[in-house]
Symmetry: C2
Subunit: 367 residues, 2 copies
């Protein structure tokens, strides 16, 4: 079919909702739908816009409200999900409520290995800083061993592994530790700026204007199978890219697992046999498509953003204080950087693959 | 572009949200996004599933919460909408809050005629029965004169016009009355079963297995320009078809207006010059595409539903009472009839037009 859709997949997506812009479930739902997934969106907050604007209005769902919505699905036999994607939840109790949903779905699927797969984005913070309450961290640590794939950023990987990532070697250690501590079979660290690490380790081969995505699917001895993909960094901050990555990953992983054949599809947690090399992992193949789609959409977003800012330059207004002017400018720039999702959906469906997967093993690493 | 997208359109969509299934904003958002519209979804309820299941869990937004979310957009300059689609709101106060949003957007657009267009679906009831509180009716009656296009079903058209629709002639009267009483320039009555009317009037030419959609754009003397499109009825009840119609209409009307040229685009309420015949109205052209898309999607939905019910027949369970069995069967049938939206998105984007527009004027009507 000319639609470029992935195999039919029913996804429960639990994350935040915003009226305007593209983050959380508002991003993830459309991304997965564009690729043909049936998405049930359970929204954990109802905000007017993302917090990067530095102001917003709206409400947070309580843990009870999250539990009730799921109970509503259960009582009407509407929980036949193939996958779950869980993202931001607004409190430790809400994180636990989301965890209980994942565990319930997993328990129901136990007699049919591979029939349910949970992708968990442990949203806790970024750039060395928690943006959730302290008690959210132990709540995640308690539930992550139930997940099949987790998608921490560099900071969240440090929090979960207890290892400070300062080099390629410590990065590999952090992933190894996450496999071991939580028994989670698939891990992707969604964005590492290796050039920033280069001061503390020796020569990473990435040019300094690239981002590196590192992933691994465990072997049966729980050792990692590490792969890495470098992508050019764009000179702009976009909100919602983590949600975009996670949503594309759900669809592309399902596609890659189906392509690998019925055996893998009915293997618990979709863990490839030990002889599969890192670069041949469905997780690596999926990541390649995900990053290719993202790069195309974000490149076009940056062009549109630059055009928007140029077309409507900030007009000095003598009636405003400097602070008010700065606020207006911040709002304008934040709005202009909203990901241009809908008009670029073709790049979600048909990625132009332009990057390559690199394998790496312990011997390659600087000490 | 091969994407079959309509011109760029920013839409504020205010309606209900369900986790599972396709009704309200959950339906409308994806439909409009598929056609390339940027949609800001402001959700008026957060339910687990639609009420056709006869059970659900979740919460309703208060009027204050609706107002707050919009205020959140305003304070960050995020209200640059070209169109608004308003649907279900859970109380008279909520309807008023939604009305205030539409009026605010319209007021802001006043200096640029045609730069904002409000499609209002006055969700009040169906099949001769109100399913909202009585006080919702006057709340709608007070705000409808602000809307540019309203989409009542037959029952809602009766409530708004005060005219009982029992024939083609009374149908024409009801539309004429709605134009006159509310000054609303575009009206579509989304589903009339003319064969049911045929007992009271004389020969409508529709075969008895068809639904008729009737629309009109007013002339400058506020007389109607009536058109009608008959489509084959499908032998199944689907929830969310009104929302699907409204969402497709937003996108297709915008497209048809753009195709008609810059003069119409900058005319208040996009009202075509008097010399434009009913069947050439952008509203009629848009309706044709809308119904063609819907018919393809619903045909495929019915096939999938029949296959789903056949594949999993209800198994007699001696432990259940007859009532419990009936409830299980109802849930199963309701789930099977959920509109298959995502996998059929190509029919949204590229409708196969297979119906035709008929004009009718007073002289054609039976008395």
């Amino acid at each position: 079919m000319s639609d470029s859709l992935v195999p039919e997949t029913r996804v429960l997506a639990v994350a935040s909702h915003v009226v305007y812009g593209n983050v959380g479930n508002t991003m993830a739902e459309f991304v997965m739908q564009s690729l043909g997934c049936d998405v049930a969106a359970l929204n954990t907050v109802h905000f007017s816009n993302h917090t990067g604007y530095r102001q917003f209005k709206g409400t947070r769902a309580t843990a009870q409200e999250i539990t009730d919505l799921y109970e509503g699905l259960r009582q009407s036999n509407l929980t036949d999900f193939d996958m779950m994607l869980s993202g931001y939840a607004p409190s430790a109790a809400a994180v636990e409520a989301v965890g209980a949903i994942g565990i319930d779905l997993q328990t129901k699927a136990k007699s049919k290995p591979g029939s349910f797969f949970w992708v968990l984005d442990p949203v806790m913070g970024d750039q060395g800083r928690l943006y959730v309450n302290d008690d959210v961290v132990p709540a995640y640590k308690k539930m992550i061993h139930h997940a099949d794939l987790i998608l921490p950023n560099q900071f969240e990987a440090e929090v979960l592994s207890g290892i400070k990532i300062t080099s390629l070697a410590t990065l590999a250690e952090a992933i190894t530790a996450i496999h071991r501590i939580y028994g989670v079979p698939h891990v992707i660290i969604t964005s590492v700026q290796l050039f920033k690490l280069s001061q503390s380790g020796s020569t990473p081969s990435t040019p300094d204007n690239h981002l590196t995505v590192i992933g691994s699917t465990t072997r049966s001895d729980s050792s990692p199978r590490l792969f890495r993909i470098d992508v050019p960094a764009l000179d702009c901050f976009f909100s919602g890219t983590g949600d975009m990555f996670a949503a594309l990953m759900v669809a592309r992983l399902r596609e890659a697992i189906d392509a690998a054949g019925p055996d893998l599809r009915s293997t618990a947690s979709w863990v490839s046999p030990d002889e599969v090399e890192p670069s041949s992992l469905p997780l690596a193949q999926a990541t390649l498509k995900v990053l290719s789609s993202m790069h195309s959409v974000l490149e076009r977003t940056m062009e549109a953003r630059n055009a928007e800012l140029a077309a409507a330059p900030l007009i000095e207004n003598g009636d405003l204080t400097i602070e008010e002017q700065q606020k207006r400018d911040h709002l304008r720039r934040t709005k202009a950087a909203e990901v241009r999702l809908v008009r670029n959906a073709r790049f979600l469906r048909d990625p132009l693959v332009q990057f390559s997967i690199q394998e790496w093993c312990k011997e390659d690493l600087p000490v």
